[in-house]
Symmetry: C2
Subunit: 199 residues, 2 copies
């Protein structure tokens, strides 16, 4: 990594921690320069303004998940296995980059119109890979049809984990992903056998 | 409502809109006073500081949901009906008070320790009513056992709607609540009959 790239990375890392802790608006440029140990001139060489750093923090995890998810969506395995892989990849990424995801979900609504549109387009692309696999599962007879609304609900289940996930906790991100997929696949309604047993 | 209560309400309403739009840290006291049309003296008569307003914005919707949910949890109907009512009540409240909920989820992590603990205690109480109904459903044979982790996932499904819910949209909050409960109850795995049909 060249010196420029290292400086850029230092700015993004410092901004992620500061935005996560104090909020985007609660973090001043001066503070960011100090924590990142870069000069004002060097900062403006890499970014137009503070908001451009927020765009990078918001875009990078979503675009990264797009790359991973597009590969999973196209890998030809049964949809049930692909949906499990999508879920595990998402939970592992949230656990590995929890501050970025937290900043993304918390702050992207504060972005100005154009920049918000760029981030939302990436998010829509990400969702489309899930839609693709759910649709493949419907066509193969593995799943019922899943509406757009339900896809929002399913993704919310995973995304909301930014607020409670403990990457050092006793359940691994992989196990959480697999467990949630099982919940989505089978639901919580007791099987008839179980219902009969209780009477 | 007395004059004091009206002033207090004006402050909370203005703060909710400002915090939702610009973030808690992005909103100055001076700006808040101006939008709420209250004097500095009057503000400090009602609140210790700006953070106390954030606590009120965060606590009120959660405590309100606690009241509604505790009644539903104790109303003696089958757990399946109670879980449906819990979900519909939550979605209707998120739709009716979307800005408060958005501020709550986005900003409560920025609260200082003591105040954060108060808000988290209310949130835990809210979750306990869902746990109570899921447990009742397990004991009655309606549901499988639902782990704490899965409850987090189920609530995330609803809570994450603060980011995408359109209260004026074509699907009502009630329909969303009912549809998500059906997803949680039955899952998306195709029934055997459907799988056979596809061959």
């Amino acid at each position: 990594m060249g010196r420029g790239a290292r400086t850029r990375e230092r700015i993004v890392t410092a901004a992620t921690e500061l935005f996560a802790e104090r909020g985007y608006h609660g973090t001043g440029i001066a503070e960011l320069l100090q924590v990142a140990r870069v000069s004002r001139g060097s900062f403006y060489h890499h970014f137009d303004d503070k908001e451009a750093v927020l765009v990078e923090i918001s875009l990078v995890p979503v675009e990264n998940m797009c790359t991973i998810s597009s590969q999973i969506a196209a890998d030809g395995r049964p949809a049930t296995e692909r949906i499990r892989s999508l879920a595990v990849a998402l939970m592992e990424d949230i656990a590995a980059h929890q501050s970025q995801w937290r900043v993304f979900f918390r702050e992207f609504e504060l972005l100005t119109a154009d920049r918000r549109a760029t981030v939302l387009a990436a998010r829509d692309r990400f969702e489309s890979y899930w839609a693709q696999v759910l649709d493949a599962g419907y066509r193969s007879g593995e799943f019922r049809e899943v509406s757009k609304l339900r896809l929002k609900g399913i993704l919310g289940m995973f995304n909301f984990s930014v607020h409670w996930m403990d990457p050092g906790g006793s359940v691994s991100p992989q196990e959480i992903g697999e467990d949630f997929v099982e919940l989505i696949l089978a639901g919580i309604r007791a099987e008839e056998a179980h219902q009969e047993r209780t009477f």
